[in-house]
């Protein structure tokens, strides 16, 4: 049954009711006597700072605020300029990782995907996982930079990859796993008598020789660690060389530094992570990004050889049996949402729908397909309570189970292969023949535009926009007319009163304004981009050789954006809790030690430095950079006075000038406008 006009009208009434409820709930004077629900617009000094912080993590300049003060429409021009900065790319990368659900994964999440040992225990594996997390966000950035609409990312066969990530795609393709968890190691199958040898004493072996079938050293690998390995079983210790029967997983693992399981004189000698240097893979193999096309082999064509790193470094194609298209078939998405013989791709389909349309199969969708191919009739026969969801979910997921096994390799069960199902979701009913049909239906679904506008609303305001707010609908219209380009949406929303709060919108009438803490990603970007640090929070594991700092430990407990399974809206802790406040004070204290009366460290050569001998200059910077109050901000002079008073009082209390300036820095760092979005 389709919703009636009455239902639609009721929606509008409902929102007015909500607005009235909200108004009643807040219809009180605040502590200064002003009615709490009286709209108060934000001045340019506040909203320019907010917009620039969101986009690039930097503080506004006097000139920028002056431009907007003189002409409020200048904010659009400024936004366009900020979107050209590399810092914008960094921020959007974090946004896209989350929005496309490519994050919240670790090495452990690949064990289901690559049974039974996962990616291995080599020291390079965390870097590979980070590559997997970043790949699709980088892909979107690349596509949008090329002028492609956002939804091109739903159907793309091109992905940003490093040579390491290419290796992972090709490795997995070499070793398919069927619905019953049976692994077919095609490399081992093709080389049934081969042994892989690792050694130290015989000296280095050129990588090219190790992978050259014509070389005497084919599948012989050098590792400085082999000779020094020790085991509880002494017969395993100091074996050199070691040799083990060929298998693709061990070969993959040794590339990343692992010394795989191998036989010893009295039994199996377990795998070891090895030292950093034992990896056959180069550090640059984790950082050299390029667009790579994934395609299926032509007749008689061989698939990409996963361990041939020299070729992967120059290749721009991967030839694989496993199809990969769009965001929902990346290793990161698969690792995030494992399925199984019971779930049968329902989670994969539902999370794909959530990413693309912002809506889940939740039993409320009245879309009723005439046929329900792929329906689990035992569990959800027509007439049962379960049928409501399953009549959409089961036919829709069928294209995934027709394409992939429960471990996300090519499906081999011909019954499932022959059942591609039917897309049936939120008023769209359409046949599917391949996984590309599914991608195309996601990309063209009528809910895509508003879903992504809402994701951006959450990112910018830590709250949704009212979906029937005329201003929200105007932004959607602009987005649509601009061909769905991401930059058009960012420009419109960030310049809109929905973000700037310069005028009252239906959203603010309904929901009020939300002032949220600067969550982890915004906070770390601000620290980096305002103070000249490079990844001060240690979120980038490809930057090797760093011990985990105390600051990074604290950051791991900071509120961060997240998504839960089946949830259509992100989880956004907005409140400054005890733990946020305590952690941030320590973060600020530790940063102060890196920027006051010291020299830039080798790890942070570009960090800002201030001298306690010149407190006025330092304090001026603290106010402008940290508190985001350039001199023209009406609050800047008083803020400067307060901080200068703090410095003086600290010295008078017996503190050294260094400690006094450090404490002044911490105060600025804990100021509401540095740790809150919209202050």
């Amino acid at each position: 049954m389709k919703p009636s006009l009455f239902v639609r009208a009721a929606t509008g009434v409902a929102f007015m009711t909500v607005a009235a409820l909200a108004g009643c709930g807040n219809d009180k004077a605040d502590d200064d006597g002003a009615p709490a629900d009286t709209f108060a617009p934000d001045p340019p000094s506040v909203y320019v700072a907010k917009v620039k912080n969101i986009l690039v993590g930097q503080a506004p300049t006097d000139d920028e605020i002056a431009q907007v003060t003189a002409d409020p429409t200048a904010i659009g021009t400024l936004i366009d300029g900020w979107m050209q900065l590399p810092e914008y790319q960094q921020k959007m990368m974090v946004f896209f990782e989350l929005a496309f659900q490519q994050t919240q994964i670790s090495e452990a999440d690949f064990v289901d995907l690559v049974p039974t040992n996962g990616l291995g225990v080599g020291k390079g594996v965390p870097l590979l996982v980070q590559n997997a997390r970043e790949s699709f966000a980088r892909t979107v950035l690349e596509l949008t930079a090329a002028g492609q609409p956002l939804n091109a990312a739903f159907t793309t066969h091109q992905f940003m990859m490093t040579p390491a990530l290419m290796e992972l795609y090709a490795f997995m393709d070499t070793r398919p796993v069927n619905d019953t968890a049976a692994v077919t190691d095609t490399f081992a199958k093709a080389n049934p008598s081969m042994m892989i040898t690792m050694e130290t004493a015989a000296g280095p072996i050129a990588f090219a020789d190790s992978i050259n079938p014509k070389s005497a050293n084919y599948m012989h690998w050098y590792s400085p660690d082999v000779a020094g390995l020790t085991y509880p079983d002494p017969t395993c210790s100091n074996l050199d060389p070691i040799a083990f029967k060929v298998n693709a997983q061990a070969l993959h693992a040794l590339l990343y530094g692992e010394i795989p399981n191998h036989p010893g004189p009295s039994g199996n000698c377990g795998n070891r992570s090895g030292s950093v240097v034992t990896g056959q893979i180069d550090p640059t193999d984790f950082t050299a990004w390029k667009m790579v096309t994934v395609r299926s082999p032509k007749a008689g064509e061989a698939r990409t050889t996963f361990y041939d790193l020299p070729s992967l470094r120059t290749a721009t194609e991967l030839v694989l049996d496993t199809p990969h298209v769009g965001f929902f078939s990346t290793p990161a998405f698969f690792a995030n949402w494992p399925t199984n013989a019971s779930n049968q791709m329902r989670v994969t389909a539902n999370q794909s729908l959530i990413v693309a349309t912002g809506t889940a199969v939740d039993g409320q969708d009245t879309t009723a397909p005439q046929t329900t191919p792929g329906l689990d009739a035992v569990h959800a026969a027509p007439g049962t309570a379960c049928f409501g969801c399953h009549q959409q979910l089961d036919p829709t997921r069928s294209i995934l189970s027709s394409t992939y096994s429960w471990f996300y390799y090519p499906q081999t069960d011909q019954t499932l292969v022959k059942q591609p199902g039917l897309f049936a979701f939120q008023d769209v009913i359409a046949p599917m023949t391949t996984i590309d049909s599914f991608a195309q239906l996601l990309a063209t679904h009528p809910l895509v535009g508003q879903a992504w506008a809402q994701k951006l609303c959450y990112y910018v305001n830590s709250a949704p926009c009212n979906p029937i707010d005329p201003e929200f609908l105007r932004i959607l219209d602009v987005f649509n007319k601009a061909g769905g380009t991401w930059s058009s949406l960012v420009h419109e929303l960030l310049a809109s009163p929905l973000t700037t709060n310069v005028s009252e919108t239906a959203t603010t009438k309904t929901n009020g304004e939300v002032i949220a803490v600067s969550r982890r990603d915004h906070l770390c970007a601000a620290l980096n981009n305002r103070l000249g640090f490079v990844d001060i929070c240690q979120l980038d594991s490809t930057m090797q050789g760093r011990a985990v700092s105390s600051l990074a430990q604290i950051i791991s407990g900071m509120p961060s954006d997240g998504y839960g399974r089946g949830a259509t809206i992100p989880v956004l802790p907005n409140q400054p809790t005890l733990f946020y406040r305590a952690g941030l004070e320590n973060v600020c204290a530790q940063v102060s030690a890196m920027v006051i009366d010291t020299k830039p460290s080798a790890q942070q050569p570009g960090s800002k430095q201030w001298s306690s001998a010149q407190p006025d200059a330092a304090i001026a910077d603290f106010v402008a950079l940290l508190m985001a109050m350039p001199p023209s901000d009406p609050r800047a002079a008083q803020a400067t006075t307060i901080l200068r008073s703090h410095f003086d009082a600290s010295v008078q209390a017996g503190a050294t000038s260094k400690d006094a300036l450090a404490s002044t820095f911490v105060a600025a760092c804990l100021s509401p406008s540095f740790i809150g979005i919209g202050m």
């Binding site: 809402q454 939300v514 430990q553 997240g562 949830a567 809790t577 008083q638 509401p672």
Partner: protein
């Protein structure tokens, strides 16, 4: 990329989850959903209902739907129920509240003084899907203002215990789905590894200037307040409140957190006990694996291994509490999104079971026993009605299986001293189960 006004409206009405719709669905004003406790500024703060009964709570919760329900007392009377054949999970006689019963070996190995205050609850959460974990913590929509059970408990217990903060704290959540909300606000997940560095006050010269710095921050706050709107003022208030809470953190106990080297269950327990000693929060949540989402688990080997470690973790928590003299002041509870299938054929893995989940309550307020039981249902097994006075399962029970979850919630509130009127206004339906209470 196309959209229409109709599609926008449809999504709004049907499940997009926007605040306006959530407000409609829940009856909570949208401002409350967005502003949380600030919007409740007019609501009087809870007063301590009964200080003598107040307890700190350690709640184990899992969105994976671990198979705890398969191996506890009450599950060994029906030969058709499948258990691991691993010797470590052997059926073992034990006594609960003076009554003989049986369970998998690990449960029977808990000290008798712990078992004497352990209640096993056979419940139904009525959902087979992982995303409902937050809803189960909200007792499937039966709580006032859609509050989570740990948050209901925290609100009532904070004034009794005088904790630094009122909100509960998630220490072990493995995903945002296992995170907590309080008054409509999502709370951060703070892993054990982050705790020490987070809570330790700055040292050295900065420490001596802390008071002065707080005064400066107060001045800065006043500066912002001058031109602030209502939302900005509310945020400034929150900052002042959190700063005040930080200053109440006892620094002398933080050294206990130094032993934490990872975010394991053991570390979560160490963190929980320490934070209780520091009186930081009334309710902490942890995640103890008991087999996880074990659809594929050959010979139930994973389930067996994690039961051994899981029950040992509970035992460790109890012994650490006893060593700290807290055994009578802390209650352990568990509540998972669902249980798993237990019937014949579940020898190499188990599926989701919306009809049976077992919760555990251990502490001074409880007496040893079993509340409810199971019977064949919907091709597997499900919780059945039980008698609230005796806990005995049976068709004549006054607590229907469908009310078992909310009755569990009500009983947890009653156990820690919350009065009947508050319980009834906090949780709709169900009833307090005297059979569980000491």
């Amino acid at each position: 990329m196309k959209f229409s006004r109709r599609s926008v409206l449809m999504s709004t009405l049907f499940g997009a989850g926007y605040v306006g719709l959530r407000a409609l669905a829940t009856g909570i004003p949208a401002a409350v959903l967005l502003k949380g406790r600030n919007a409740f500024a007019d609501t009087p703060a809870p007063v301590c209902p009964d200080k003598s009964k107040a307890q700190f709570i350690v709640l184990a919760t899992s969105g994976s739907g671990d198979p705890i329900n398969a191996n506890v007392p009450g599950m060994y009377d029906d030969a058709n129920i499948t258990h691991s054949l691993d010797p470590s999970m052997a059926r073992t006689p034990m006594k609960l509240g003076g009554t003989s019963t049986a369970a998998a070996l690990p449960w029977a190995q808990l000290p008798q003084n712990v078992l004497d205050r352990t209640t096993f609850w056979h419940l139904m959460t009525n959902t087979p899907v992982h995303p409902k974990e937050p809803d189960v913590l909200k007792l499937m929509g039966s709580t006032a203002a859609n509050e989570m059970l740990p948050s209901l408990l925290a609100k009532q217990l904070a004034p009794c215990l005088g904790t630094v903060q009122t909100q509960p704290l998630a220490l072990g959540a493995t995903s945002p789905s296992e995170g907590l909300s309080f008054a409509g606000q999502a709370l951060p997940i703070v892993p054990p590894l982050a705790l020490k560095d987070t809570l330790t006050s700055p040292s050295g010269g900065l420490a001596n200037l802390q008071q002065l710095r707080d005064q400066t921050l107060s001045q800065l706050s006043d500066l912002y307040r001058g031109g602030a709107n209502a939302a900005q003022k509310a945020y400034l208030d929150s900052l002042i409140n959190s700063q005040s809470e930080v200053r109440n953190i006892r620094q002398d106990l933080l050294s206990s957190l130094s032993s934490i080297k990872d975010n394991s269950v053991a570390s979560q327990i160490t963190a929980a006990v320490t934070l209780i000693q520091m009186n930081v929060t009334p309710v902490l949540t942890i995640h103890i694996p008991f087999g996880g989402d074990n659809h594929t688990d050959a010979l139930l080997a994973g389930e067996a291994a994690q039961h051994v470690t899981g029950v040992a973790a509970i035992g460790s928590l109890m012994s650490q509490l006893a060593a700290a003299g807290l055994q009578d002041q802390v209650t352990f509870m568990s509540l998972n999104v669902f249980g798993r299938t237990v019937g014949p054929g579940n020898t190499d893995g188990r599926q989701h079971n919306p009809n049976h989940q077992v919760s555990i309550a251990i502490g001074k307020p409880f007496k040893g026993g079993i509340i409810g039981g199971v019977a064949p249902l919907a091709g597997d097994y499900g919780a059945v009605a039980f008698n609230s006075t005796t806990g005995a399962p049976g068709a004549g029970g006054d607590v229907a299986a469908g009310d078992s979850l909310v009755s569990f919630g009500k009983t947890m509130l009653a156990a820690v001293g919350v009065d009947a009127a508050t319980i009834d206004s906090s949780i709709a339906m169900g009833k307090v189960v005297p059979a569980a209470l000491a």
